[in-house]
Amino acid sequence: MRGTEHTVIKGGLTSRKRKKRILDTVCFILLAAAALTVLMPLWFMVSTALKDMDEIFTYPITWYPHNPVWSNFKDAWMSADFTGWFLNSLFVAGFAILGGVLANSLVAYGFAKIKFPGRNILFTIILGTMMIPEFVTMIPQYVLYARLGWVGTYLPLIVPQFMGSAYFIFMLRQFYAGIPNSVIESAQMDGASHFCIWRKIMLPMAKPAIMTVVVLSFNWSWNDFLKPLLYLTDTARFTLQIGLKIFVSQSNTQWNYLMAASCIVLLPIIVVFMCLQKYFTDGMNLGGAVKG
């Protein structure tokens, strides 16, 4: 410790640089260690995907495939209409993103930046909707959609996405809360409407948050199982998550195919994440706007 003190006295700049480098190295080591723990299960997933059933059944478990069967990926995918289901999932997820961004950013703006009577009660109700398990309202919800004639169509999967979700409304409201009111007030002085402020100021400023909504709503729509199961009746209209379950039966599971197909199913989410990840680090640059 005395050594570092010494260098501090000698030359502040180099020591700070060195300190930064040490911190960065520690940081990197920690990240790498965390990444390893995250990777282990994923590795196991990929390796199972490459095994044949004989090897899966051997004991003790092998941690890498001894005879990798690359054709598992193709065979799993071709064993049913996965390509069609993939496109269906993409279709539904597209609407989920569109609806998720539009509805939630509007509603959250209303809750975060406009004062109106009943706001707090309504917001509490929104929070409350998150707290009731989905399967308790499932039956009345199904009956309602059945009466509307929506069963067998994508409408029950798509329309609610345009009505906002409690999670995203809450989340965006928290992000908007960080945007100074002075920005809005000065815009209002210039005669801008709330819609205009939302469109021209809020959306661009909250880009990282919006992109988070995009990634998450894509992810959740992509992984949704219960709703497609309930509301889709035609095999040709199924989504991927129902499809994946064909490898799981009552007594047997084709683990290699299940894992292989699961790996492929992951790819689109990875791509979406990769494309958008630069936004998460862009930052909203709120401070700059205030001082400006």
Partner: protein
């Protein structure tokens, strides 16, 4: 609405309602009905297909007085919540902080940490069952490297809930993403000013980062808690016969609700349990909401 509203306030109110109208419409037309229906059902013997007689608070009485596993399931769930929520929040903030230093390979790390949330369903649970196997499992194999003899995770009632907490922490990508977004939104000026004052990394973290991301911490705690209270799929798949064994240690509240509703068709009782859970979670949330005034930093000074 009130007489005392000025013209400007009225205009504001109208704008406010217009902005939240998508949700209001959705609630009135689609989601609200089933929700209220389930509230009503909690006072009936509703079984989804043949009966729905009003039975007053009989379901609630059964819950508190007669159901032998009600308190056990609630206890299990509370234990899980108390363990899982702090663990995943702290780990997510920690990871986001590390990622925010933007050392080499950060984009790759970011992707990796998000990956687990992308995985879902049986495949993940299966992976964990294998990883947690006491002898050949990877977790214990790694522990053995450090001379630690790991527990038999999913077979030992004392370790089943920590096992599920571990899984939850593993999949903290969503929280991490939120913290990352919000950390990046903190004004650089604040840090530069602190640098000039010679603040250390820890000081900056405590004095600038934490207050600035506090709205998201608040959000993360509430949603994580709500989610943790509803833990159920994991227990259904990872306990040997889906009933929360060994020794009922994975018998969570929602697993009990699910069982009542779908194996015994007691949807009335299941609804009562669900609404009681709502009361618990809502109470905690409102207390949090009140407390947040003291620690959550907002521009408006209110939440």
């Amino acid at each position: 609405m009130k007489r005392g509203m000025t013209k400007r306030e009225k205009k504001e109110a109208r704008a406010g309602w217009l902005f939240i109208s998508p949700w209001v419409i959705g609630f009135i037309c689609l989601t609200g009905g089933p929700l209220l229906f389930s509230l009503y059902a909690s006072f009936t013997n509703y079984n989804m297909t043949s009966r729905m007689d009003f039975i007053g608070v009989a379901n609630y009485i059964r819950m508190f007085k007669k159901d032998p596993v009600f308190w056990k399931s609630l206890g299990n769930t509370l234990y899980y919540v108390l363990l899982a929520v702090p663990a995943s929040c702290v780990c997510a903030i920690f990871l986001a902080t590390l990622l925010n230093r933007k050392v080499k390979g950060t984009p790759v790390f970011r992707m990796l940490f998000y990956l687990p949330t992308v995985l879902s369903g049986v495949a993940v649970y299966q992976l964990w069952i294998q990883l947690l196997a006491p002898q050949s499992g990877l977790v214990n194999s790694v522990l053995r490297l450090f001379g630690i003899e790991g527990p038999s995770w999913l077979a030992d009632p004392a370790w089943t809930k920590p096992s599920l907490v571990m899984m939850r922490v593993w999949a903290l990508g969503t929280s991490m993403l939120l913290y990352l977004s919000s950390m990046n939104s903190v004004s650089k000026d604040l840090y530069e000013a602190a640098d000039i004052d010679g603040a250390t990394f820890l000081q900056k973290f405590r004095k600038i980062t934490l207050p600035q991301i506090s709205p998201i911490i608040f959000f993360d705690i509430i949603t994580n808690m709500t989610g943790a209270f509803q833990v159920f799929q994991e227990a259904l798949v990872m306990s040997k016969n889906g009933k929360g064994d060994p020794a009922g240690s994975l018998l969570f509240y929602n697993l009990h609700i699910y069982d009542e509703a779908f194996t015994r068709y007691n949807m009335g009782y299941a609804s009562a349990m669900a609404w009681f859970l709502l009361v618990i979670v809502m109470t905690i949330t409102l207390i949090n909401l009140a407390a947040s005034k003291y620690w959550v930093h907002t521009e408006e000074g209110e939440t």
